[in-house]
Symmetry: C2
Subunit: 387 residues, 2 copies
């Protein structure tokens, strides 16, 4: 089986890109990745597009075709499909590209993740975001992504004596790192005080516990070892890829604060990569809500259930034992859903190439990338780096 | 590389299933496929769900998770992702499952295609179907799928002296075959006269030239040769799989009536299968509009451009040289978008197992399955059968 390497990456700035269209930002990210990889667009053999809400928010389905067309890939008849798995769409698309190369069918694949979410506001947007929940048994009864996260947070805080400050520090850490990332949606630093006193969204989650509605696009070029060597390229290897499922609706799960899909996906990825948690130099994790940052740290294997608080804030900082979200994470780099998981790979690729500027991790060996759908229905974990 | 076999199939009746929900029909098809394959649900290692409009029409994205959950797969943490490529979503999902097995990562995959389209009517539905066109450059200016097909039809009819009766006969053939298919949306036979005198939709296309808005779900179990042999199972092999892309918008294409993506995908699939057009026992093709039936016959390699009329109606009938759509096709079996391409495999599997009842093709050797997005942006062609 072919080994699969990241050989190029590109992305737009994440943010409120009101003057730009879905296709425009997707193409910008894609062309940057092609240029970064030092290949021609025609060298790409297949495109995996990811977007969760383009059909719902932008009235545009079939975004694989859209991106292929406007990137100039369609003129070479390069095929394209869209992969969707809620907020895990990005990593799901990377994984499909990875499997396609592993199968021997392709040597070069592009992954393009994109979301244009700020065209719609308020309750209508909330309703659209809730299309990623269980529509009939959660959203229909008024549950929202934030409300579900708040339920998990309440139970978790009560059972493990975790205070609200600990949650807030996940966001403070994200903003600290994002202040060093030119691609980030929010580059302002966030004080604990400001986070604690921000508008309440769903008790105990303030707005500074919630990732923003972002526009943005991220893209990767992946290649087989054979292609990479033949063309004298360098890359960062995808060493492990794990995916697992839990019930779609939070109320069906075994626990309100155990991310079983994350735990299983992480174990698969680590086993495949033959790497232990101690070997991980940094982690990009899916903190769409601050509580998920704590839960993920535990279920990814960096702390026992209920004890992630011991890692916050020092150990998760850029200079800590296990730096979390050097990119700025979902809270501060931003969360353009279909792009988010792809953007984690972009960050990793920058880090391994020593191009991460002020937020550079020194000599990283392995990174863990965690992308998760909704409140934990699908989790996808990748290990990249090493050799 | 593993060889990939279809080892089980199941589907709901296609039609206006007003009393049933998206998840309900998806689960019915999936469980039937599992039972048909003679395995347990827990034997499945990954689920590929396909749906084009679930987020847009039903307010439910992440349908991979939805199906996994309500099929009982999530309780075994069996992962799920959704694949979307407009009306080619079904074959795109089959192809992802095929590549995943080829990669050696999985031995057993389920593909579940579903669409629940009849919950919404009239102009709102038309707008939602137009999310699969180029939103900004086609749909925004009032183009609809039927209008684009009508443009292709007009130019084609003028250039090659093809009459409206020839188009109508594609639909007449579909209805004839669907009358023998218990799963079909429409089981009534259609006379040429009734087709010609049906309501005009977009001149020259009458409503009987247009596939219906259907609900339905189709599912497959795919397995590696290794798994199949180890468990003493029998199956039908996927011998070739081709995918290719054209511009999303019809106005960007080289020709209004050349389906270049179809031609390239067909050639790839035939080459891989080491099969020629003459070896094909029957074809299931993507006649979402009758004109596409004629165009596809040509671009799939069964007739020169402009000469598919010579095959209609005799040669495409069940007893003809190249039977077209024994299932009833998109016009009469129905077109629940995400299910349609999966349903073509269900038909092929029934035919190869000799379970196609009155519409049984005698001793089929190879079948060609053609699924296409919109007006031809993405085409996916599979060859199944033989050994």
């Amino acid at each position: 089986m072919s080994e699969v390497y990241i050989v190029g990456s590109g992305e737009t700035k994440y943010g409120e890109l009101w003057d730009r269209s879905l296709r425009e930002i997707a193409v910008e990210a894609g062309l940057k990745a092609v240029e970064n990889a030092g290949i021609y667009s025609r060298d790409i053999q297949i495109l995996y597009g990811s977007s969760s809400l383009s059909g719902t928010v932008n009235g545009q389905n079939d975004i694989g075709s859209l991106i292929a067309d406007f990137s100039g890939l369609a003129s070479n008849n390069i095929p394209a499909v869209r992969v969707e798995a809620s907020s895990a769409s990005g990593a799901a698309a990377v994984r499909e590209a990875y499997l396609a190369i592993r199968s021997g069918e392709y040597d070069v694949a592009m992954v393009g993740g994109v979301e244009k979410m700020t065209d719609i506001y308020g309750s209508e947007m909330l309703d659209m975001m809730s299309t990623t929940l269980d529509r009939e048994w959660e959203a229909f009864f008024g549950a929202t992504p934030a409300a579900l996260a708040a339920m998990s947070a309440r139970k978790y805080m009560a059972d493990f004596h975790v205070d609200k400050e600990t949650l807030a520090m996940i966001s403070v850490n994200d903003h600290e790192n994002a202040s060093k990332n030119p691609s980030a949606h929010y580059r302002n630093k966030l004080t604990l005080d400001a986070a604690m006193n921000s508008t309440m969204v769903a008790d105990p989650l303030n707005i500074m516990d919630c990732s923003p509605i972002s526009d943005g696009a991220s893209a990767l070029v992946l290649a087989s070892d054979r292609y990479m060597k033949k063309n004298g390229m360098e890359g960062v290897r995808i060493q492990g890829s794990g995916i697992a499922q839990d019930y779609l609706a939070l109320h069906s799960r075994a626990s309100l604060y155990r991310l079983d899909s994350t735990a299983i996906a992480a174990r698969k990825a680590l086993d495949q990569a033959k790497v232990r948690n101690d070997d991980i130099s940094f982690v990009e994790l899916n903190d769409s809500y601050s509580i998920y940052g704590l839960l993920a740290l535990e279920d990814l294997g960096f702390a026992k259930k209920g004890s992630a608080k011991d890692l916050v804030p020092d150990e998760i900082s850029l200079r800590g034992r296990i730096p979390v979200n050097p990119s700025g994470g979902l809270k501060a780099k931003g969360n353009p859903m279909g792009a988010t998981g792809v953007g984690q790979f972009v960050e990793a690729y920058l880090q391994f190439r020593g191009k991460a500027g002020e937020r550079q991790i020194k000599d990283p060996e392995h990174a863990m990338l965690h992308n998760m759908a909704g409140s934990g229905s699908t989790s996808i974990v990748h290990i990249v780096g090493g050799d």
